[in-house]
């Protein structure tokens, strides 16, 4: 049965108190709790997305021996609020020849696709909105709405830069979905389930219990996933859809104000989501090293562990962006189809054979068990 955050909370005493407050109306209480938690998660992730822009500028400045934003607030931390106010007060320009309905729809599709993935992201063992049986599959499926948003944004602007950016974006996102999904499938094979609860629950807190070090194939799968995920989120060195030097700004060239803000926010939150997925699939997720307790303060510890892993990966993503040069379009496609996809299929078969031959034991179990 699907576990949800409300069913998790209902095992504590204060749930009965809340239930009495809502006159024993289960449905209304569940709805209110879901609404509240959804608002909390969306608010939190929007803040992380906003801070992402700040982190990006600060880290790039650090890598280039500059100072970066330091005027607004302490260390320039409130820069994102200033940016937000700037975006909201800007004039909302619609190109005269644009396809108006699709022009409105495209940023919303991007944002919907990203926010919908937050429903299954496991922040801790209890704080996961809905632990669906098809969790990771749902995440992969619903995040393909982003590609559609990019494509429609490029088409609806009716400008050649946008058009090229949108076409590139869509082809890149569907192509790289294949190696990413296949390497996720290898992990699903190891875990024996698609739900995030199952996948993270099969791992442990210490590195030798992570799926990344389960066997050599899973180790390679982590890197295939990372490269593919970078490309799927249109991050450098795969940011062909918005390559400044050739396409002005790609698919969001014609977007101004808050609509542009939606695209930028969607991108930064998607990077966060992708890092969170990598952390929970390969790096042990929210598991606290060494301790297995089921009390409420544990949730906070798990949350901190998860966020630490995710934000470290987030830093690596930004670091890669400011280190590596951009690929060409043909190189991008050959990397996907000639290298990543065969490697990912090889990994999947390798994982399957490993599971049969070694009866599902990881390297650490084999080594430690033999002594």
């Amino acid at each position: 049965m699907n576990q949800t955050v409300v069913s998790y909370l209902s095992q504590y005493e204060f749930y009965d108190f809340l239930l009495a407050l809502f006159r024993n109306n289960q449905g209304v209480l569940a709805f209110t709790l879901y609404l509240l938690l959804a608002l909390i998660i969306v608010g939190m992730c929007a803040t992380i997305g906003g801070l992402g822009t700040y982190a990006e500028r600060k880290i790039s400045a650090d890598l280039q021996a500059r100072i970066g934003p330091n005027r607004v607030g302490p260390y320039g931390l409130l820069q994102m609020l200033a940016d937000g106010v700037k975006m909201m007060t800007k004039e909302d320009i619609m190109p005269f020849t644009a396809d108006k309905k699709l022009f409105y729809l495209a940023p919303l599709l991007c944002l919907t696709g990203v926010f919908a993935t937050l429903a299954v992201l496991p922040f801790s063992s209890g704080f996961i909105m809905a632990d669906l049986n098809v969790g990771i599959f749902y995440l992969v499926a619903i995040s393909s709405l982003v590609g559609l948003g990019v494509f429609l944004g490029g088409y609806a602007s009716n400008s050649k830069w946008s058009m090229l950016g949108g076409m590139r974006g869509a082809s890149q996102i569907i192509s790289y979905e294949i190696p990413v999904t296949i390497s996720i499938l290898a992990i699903v094979l190891l875990a024996g389930g698609m739900g995030f609860g199952t996948i993270v629950g099969r791992q442990g807190g210490l590195p030798h219990e992570w799926f990344m070090f389960h066997n050599p194939f899973a180790f390679i799968a982590f890197f295939v996933y990372s490269v593919g995920a970078l490309a799927e989120t249109n991050r450098a060195p795969f940011d062909l859809p918005e390559a400044e030097s050739e396409l002005v700004s790609g698919y969001h060239t014609e977007y101004t104000g808050m609509r542009f803000g939606f695209f930028a926010l969607a991108e930064y939150i998607e990077v966060f989501v992708v890092c969170g997925v990598a952390a929970s699939l390969f790096l042990g997720g929210y598991n606290v090293p060494g301790i297995k307790l089921d009390i409420l303060p544990m949730q906070a510890a798990q949350f901190v562990i998860f966020m630490t892993k995710t934000l470290v990966l987030y830093y690596v993503v930004i670091w890669i962006r400011w280190t590596l040069p951009r690929l060409r379009v043909d190189q991008l496609m050959s990397v996907c189809w000639k290298y990543l996809t065969p490697i990912a299929i090889f990994n999947l078969m390798g994982c399957a054979i490993w599971m049969v031959v070694f009866n599902g034991k990881s390297i650490a179990e084999l080594v430690l068990g033999s002594h």
Binding site: V134, I142, S144
Partner: protein, 178 residues
């Protein structure tokens, strides 16, 4: 309660977007309406407890087919398609006069009534199964069915997909003009 809400909204989305596919002139908008309709069907699958099928529907159609359709529209000249017969209300005169329309409407009404009678009869004749609101996980069962009972169809569909992949690549490849 929640299921009812999901069912009604999915049904409205499905039907209205399907009608949108039919009614709008712009083929690009038609594709986006098709997307809405397919998402609505995924919602209907979810109300039927078919979680795996619902997600597969979203995965294949949103991530693949609709984007492919949009690509095809762009590669074949976008929305420059010139034809007077783009929607039902703007049909050219050669396709019929008022009598053909009247007869068509009559046939449609008869068809609809017959179908409704048929469905009513079917639902009465069927054994009434008690429907619970419990949705057990279908993923494991589908996995077992795919590699046990339906393994031949599963393998054949993989061959079919490979054939489609190679065939599409060969057909769409630009050839040198002699």
């Amino acid at each position: 309660m929640f299921l009812q809400f999901l069912f009604i909204s999915s049904a409205v989305l499905t039907v209205s977007c399907a009608l949108g596919v039919l009614m709008v002139k712009n083929i690009m908008h038609s594709c986006v309406f098709l997307l809405g309709s397919l998402m609505g069907i995924a919602g209907l699958y979810a109300t039927l407890g078919a979680d795996f099928v619902a997600i597969t529907q979203i995965m294949v159609y949103v991530g693949g087919v609709v984007i492919l359709m949009l690509f095809a529209v762009m590669l074949t000249g976008g929305n420059d398609f010139v034809s007077r017969a783009q929607n039902l209300l703007g049909l050219p005169a050669s396709m019929g006069n008022k009598w053909t329309y009247a007869i068509g409407l009559l046939v449609g009404v008869v068809f609809l009534l017959t179908n409704i009678q048929l469905i009513r009869g079917l639902t009465k004749a069927l054994p009434v199964k008690t429907i619970t609101n419990e949705f057990p996980s279908t993923v494991t069962q589908i996995g077992h069915l795919l590699v046990k009972d339906h393994v031949l169809a599963f393998e054949m569909s993989s061959v079919l997909l490979l054939g489609a992949l190679v065939g599409a690549a060969i057909i769409a490849r630009p050839r040198k003009q002699n």
